[in-house]
Symmetry: C2
Subunit: 465 residues, 2 copies
């Protein structure tokens, strides 16, 4: 790493970011208090409130910002800057549900900064995924504007409120507003650091296929004494189907599932091996010790480069306290597939549904409710913005930035390519222990602070190109 | 069937029963309005209220009645009569939970008499199981007392409030009060007619083993993108365990499960074949068409004479609306076994638990919560009271009474034999379509009316012995 050179344009912006951190934190806290859970219809008004909060905040920054209503939760689109490259920044203001609520140490929507042995953290739903990340870019713009009176690039902000619920409005909105949204490159802040000291640009993202399967049997719940033995039990049928989805080596058995799954190139395998990833610690942090995926694969491969099939939820019959000797009339599972390479989500969905139907015994029915299909995406790192951003990140953090994969699905990256023909670059500051989607989600205060500084550096680097 | 002979003692009691039916129905309605769900701690006060209601009602009949508190819900014990045989009558005042509540056409605890194409029915939770049945005997006593000023036998009433939650207080209470409760025979009213016109005395009852299994994996719910593929999924593990509990022919695979399971005798098989049971209609009534149990067994065998293993409830991960891409940290199932012959519930429980433990992959834990063990019971029909009651029932109903089996578990029958060394006779008037344990439970008004008359006839027959 070379010693940083003085930069008369950037340095005062970084100083301003440092000085303004308490106020930036207050603004984030206000946004975090809005319970914008997109998957739950009861929280629809909160989603609108979060969008309105963003519009109001961006207007104070001089952005031409507006709430753009859709059939679902609204988008926020904002424009500012009149010279330099055109950068589109994407984030999402919606958050995951908070159940099981009793596992939270405090109200998920009453955020607080906590001192922990590993440093200060911002605790609350959405701190890391994705409000805290989204605001790193907004605060970088704010500091730049405060110092220079303008922005170093033409910037379009594009925030959605349905990322955690399958983004049903996203593609239609992008198609209808393609001219307005198309820029030189898209910047997406919804990923993480590689580790505490190593920033990352994510260049491989898994796709996602979400399916909800309901198996039906008797037309009402039955007494298991009166009918048990003679009547089909949908919970048993569902268990047999789920059990059949993997073979003993951990491979998914859906016919055709591995069509389009590439083997890792030797070059990428070597790069990943060099990252010094501590698989044991990764599992240990969540109470596990043994990789549970396909035999013969490394943990990084399992989570970045291999497809999966998981049960996200299952329910049927009596699940309350005590015991009820009932034969359930139906049982239901939410099942998701993470996809890689050229796997075709629609073909896999159809093959999965056919496999389930073929396993149904007499007297059972099945219904499927799709929760979205998105293919995997692989970024093109040939765009010079990738190397410029890597250098900018490397200047901010203790260790050089890496190009990495990600197990999570951020379908928006693929949409920018497919619909708007623009490259997308994923930069984020979340950490593996942020407990996103879980109780007690947090975001390191250091991630927030250095994240803002990172974006200022990237803005500087990209506008100098 | 012979023409009924005039009986100067019985006939005025039957007439009184007919005349008093509206008032008897009002009394039953009052008891049904008390939501005495024993398995739900939130309804403990309602269980006490139901016991108190019974004590007060029995005192108006001249019974020496008292509420007898236990570590769980109270018992009710009442004595009356000073000559003739000593008969103990058992019933239970607790009821099953009411969920899913939205499937009820009306408040389950706001009972009503409805006209239906098949006749008038009393609709509400507990109408058939077991408040309506319990009151048939009380009303028979009331009518006898009103006509004759006394009862034809020494009668002890014994009502419990934990039958639907495993009867944890029952055995200790019977042991501690053995002298008070021991009678010449126990009468139990918690079973059904064989069909609309054929009364039944149930002589074979399946036992029950209830197990709640919780599989644990990661110490918190995980993001299925970040960890999916590398982290073990307890919902998948549970599905594999459940799927392994039966083989392809429908037999239960728990080692030693079939030890002590007798084959049906040719005599009993012939008797059951002669009942004209319509298996197709039995299944059709609940929306099914194909017997789902062991290959090569008749439906009556499946539900009366064969053991089962069923999933009564399963839950894990996110089960609300929408989709949450979570890897659950645990998954749970309530699993029950119906037992026959000499199957040993404790041995089967231990074998089941060992089988589950042997299937656990690395990093998974399991905990078991027992929900009771009761062996099957077979009544001795050599006691002359059985033939006397059969004749009495045959006089009341269109067709002669039958000795039958029952798929349900009424462990009390075995306890009377084992703990108090008395025979037990199961007589009841419920019907297969009563929807017990399900939404919209009902009890035919005809069952209630002819049930009261049946008990008057049985009292007459047993006291004449």
């Amino acid at each position: 790493m070379t010693a940083p050179t003085a930069n008369a344009t950037l340095d005062p912006v970084l100083a301003r970011i440092d000085a303004d951190l308490p106020a930036a934190l207050d603004r984030l806290m206000a946004l975090l208090r809005i319970p914008s859970i997109s998957t739950d219809p009861a929280h629809a008004a909160a989603c609108v409130a979060a969008a309105d909060w963003l519009v109001a905040d961006l207007q104070t920054l001089g952005f031409d910002a507006s709430r753009r209503d859709t059939a679902g939760h609204p988008m926020v689109v904002a424009h500012a800057g009149d010279s330099g490259p055109h950068l589109l920044f994407y984030g999402h203001y919606d958050v995951q549900p908070v159940d099981p609520l009793h596992l939270w140490a405090r109200d998920p929507f009453d955020p607080v900064v906590e001192k922990t042995p590993a440093g200060e953290v911002i605790r609350g739903r959405g701190t890391s995924d994705d409000k805290g990340q989204l605001m790193t870019f907004v605060e970088a713009c704010r500091a730049w504007k405060a110092v220079h009176g303008t922005l170093p690039a033409r910037i379009t902000l594009f925030f959605e409120g349905e990322e955690e619920s399958g983004s049903p409005s996203l593609i239609p909105f992008m198609r209808e507003n393609a001219a307005e949204l198309t820029a030189d490159i898209a910047l997406i802040c919804d990923t993480g650091l590689f580790d505490h000291d190593t920033p990352a640009i994510t260049t491989m993202l898994r796709g996602l296929l979400g399916e909800e399967v309901t198996i039906t049997g008797p037309r009402m719940d039955l007494h298991s004494g009166m009918y048990g033995g003679a009547a089909i039990n949908p919970a048993r049928v569902l268990a047999r189907i789920i059990a059949a989805l993997h073979d003993d080596s951990g491979r998914v058995t859906v016919p055709g599932f591995y069509d389009g799954v590439p083997e890792l190139s030797n070059a990428l395998r070597a790069q990943w091996d060099g990252l010094g990833f501590d698989a044991e610690a990764f599992l240990h942090d969540v109470g596990l010790s043994v990789p549970a995926g396909e035999a013969g694969r490394s943990v990084l491969e399992m989570i970045w480069a291999r497809p999966t099939c998981e049960v996200n939820g299952i329910t049927g019959g009596y699940t309350g306290d005590g015991f009820k000797t009932v034969l359930p009339s139906q049982a239901r599972a939410k099942i998701s597939f993470r996809l890689v390479g050229q796997q075709d989500p629609v073909a896999i969905r159809d093959s999965f549904r056919a496999m389930v139907r073929a396993m149904l015994p007499a007297d059972c029915g099945v219904s499927f409710h799709g929760h979205g299909t998105s293919p995997a995406s692989t970024m093109s790192t040939e765009n010079p913005a990738f190397d410029a951003a890597r250098a900018a990140l490397s200047a901010e953090w203790p260790r050089p930035a890496a190009f990495v994969g990600s197990g999570g699905s951020i379908p928006i990256a693929g949409y920018f390519k497919d619909i708007l023909a623009m490259d997308a670059m994923l930069v984020g500051f979340a950490k593996d222990d942020d407990l996103i989607h879980s109780p007690n989600e947090k975001y390191d205060l250091r991630s927030f602070h250095k994240g803002i500084r990172s974006w200022a550096r990237i803005l500087s680097a990209l506008s100098a190109n």
